[in-house]
Symmetry: C2
Amino acid sequence: MTVKPEWIAVDWGTSNLRAFAMGTDGVLAQATSDEGMGKLARDQFEGALLRLIDGWLSTDKVTPVIACGMVGARQGWVEAPYRSVPCLPVDKGGLMDVTVTDPRFTFAIVPGLSQANPADVMRGEETQIAGALALSPGFDGVLCLPGTHSKWAQVSADEVVSFQTMMTGEMFALLSGQSVLRHGMVDAKGWDDAAFDQGVSDALSRPERLAAMLFRLRAEGLLNGLSGDAAKARLSGLLIGAELAAARPYWLGQAVSLIGADKLSAAYARALLAQGVTARLLSGDECVLAGLSRAAGKV
Amino acid sequence: MTVKPEWIAVDWGTSNLRAFAMGTDGVLAQATSDEGMGKLARDQFEGALLRLIDGWLSTDKVTPVIACGMVGARQGWVEAPYRSVPCLPVDKGGLMDVTVTDPRFTFAIVPGLSQANPADVMRGEETQIAGALALSPGFDGVLCLPGTHSKWAQVSADEVVSFQTMMTGEMFALLSGQSVLRHGMVDAKGWDDAAFDQGVSDALSRPERLAAMLFRLRAEGLLNGLSGDAAKARLSGLLIGAELAAARPYWLGQAVSLIGADKLSAAYARALLAQGVTARLLSGDECVLAGLSRAAGKV
């Protein structure tokens, strides 16, 4: 069966490339590769893209391709300069057009957002935020996008007012995989909700003591036989708790929606619930598609 | 010239092995190799040691060798169980004797210290603490040993009363060398005192916001051209400031001595001075030798 999309949506991150053939009623087909921005030189982007979408292109029309993510970074295909907040998360008129050699498609990049003070940047999340607003028209409140570099964004009147990035996911990966704490987690297979809750509570009630709380995971493994599951879940709780401590002005007394993968969002939702905040969960995949559809002028 | 030591002092860490031929008036000779605990299987320790000290041993007497550090860890030559605080940092009667095959020497390990609550451990630093007390008899106050895993110890009446470990050095290595922040530091060659001071001050005044302050280093590099020197020094300041925030009960209104390498101790001293604490600097090398001398019953 031949796929004939109206347009093609692309989510092009550092590690992965995902393409969606879009018809009037949504996704017709999708394709994925590991040719993320981090692996490509400037002249390799068009080829990497064609390896995924060539079969969807037709010689009798020009198919628009719209992409978000690190493809627009300084090390990407073409740098798409940041747009400054406060602003709409995605502006159809503000896309960055990229010249391609293949006549069957056009290519445009959704720019990221920047904030002057405190200095901050995002690239990719603005599209998910636009998607969340497309899925929940009139939403006024806070969006949290947990991940390698978690983002908290204050949204009002369809604009991103301010945002803040935290390196929680990257810290977890480094500490659990490469620091001395890894010795106590190599056997971790499951999860320990109580240990996670304790970590969140410890970090939120005494955030200034985080530096001491981390090594204690190692010491409790040596002295008290703390299990790998408990150590890993408590580390996650400590770091998410530290993120919540830093982001308190964002969630305290606010309507919060979480955008992201199910398991990680559920952990954030659990941590927020313990602070009395009931967060709504939105799928990261649905939001990125809705955001790219908005950039394409389809919604 | 033949070296004929009375005894041999050994500092055997994870990465390095250092041996000192000791005479009545101090060090006669020293030797170093990279055969640290982390590279050796249990049956390789004696050989690694002999490669350094064989020329100092004599067949007409038995030379005592006394070692501290990770050689006594579970993954080391022989596990020397922790001694619990409060206790003397080093107790000549509490050394762990190790059976060796070579008849020309005996080998004993200084055990590390543990604390039940909050759970904590040290291995190697107890010897430096004993050395600091040998060099400053009657010292009552706080010793800080900056490093990969910084230690803060409360000392009174020659005993370690309590202590606390922070992963500051390891966090700095991971964040500056392996996280997204490395991109803004690859060109760092020098140091920026003002940026360091700002980091210390930011972390100490708003420790709960540390998670947000870290990513800002990356954003300021992208948006405002923050230099590599400034980014690296501010990262160091943020992490040392976070350590001081967590260790506040240890240094506030206390007599503080720093034990360690010159450059790192100087950074800690600068950060403490900004909080009104004038710390005394002690050489890490002198302290480890004085501590091993105490373990050997020589001082």
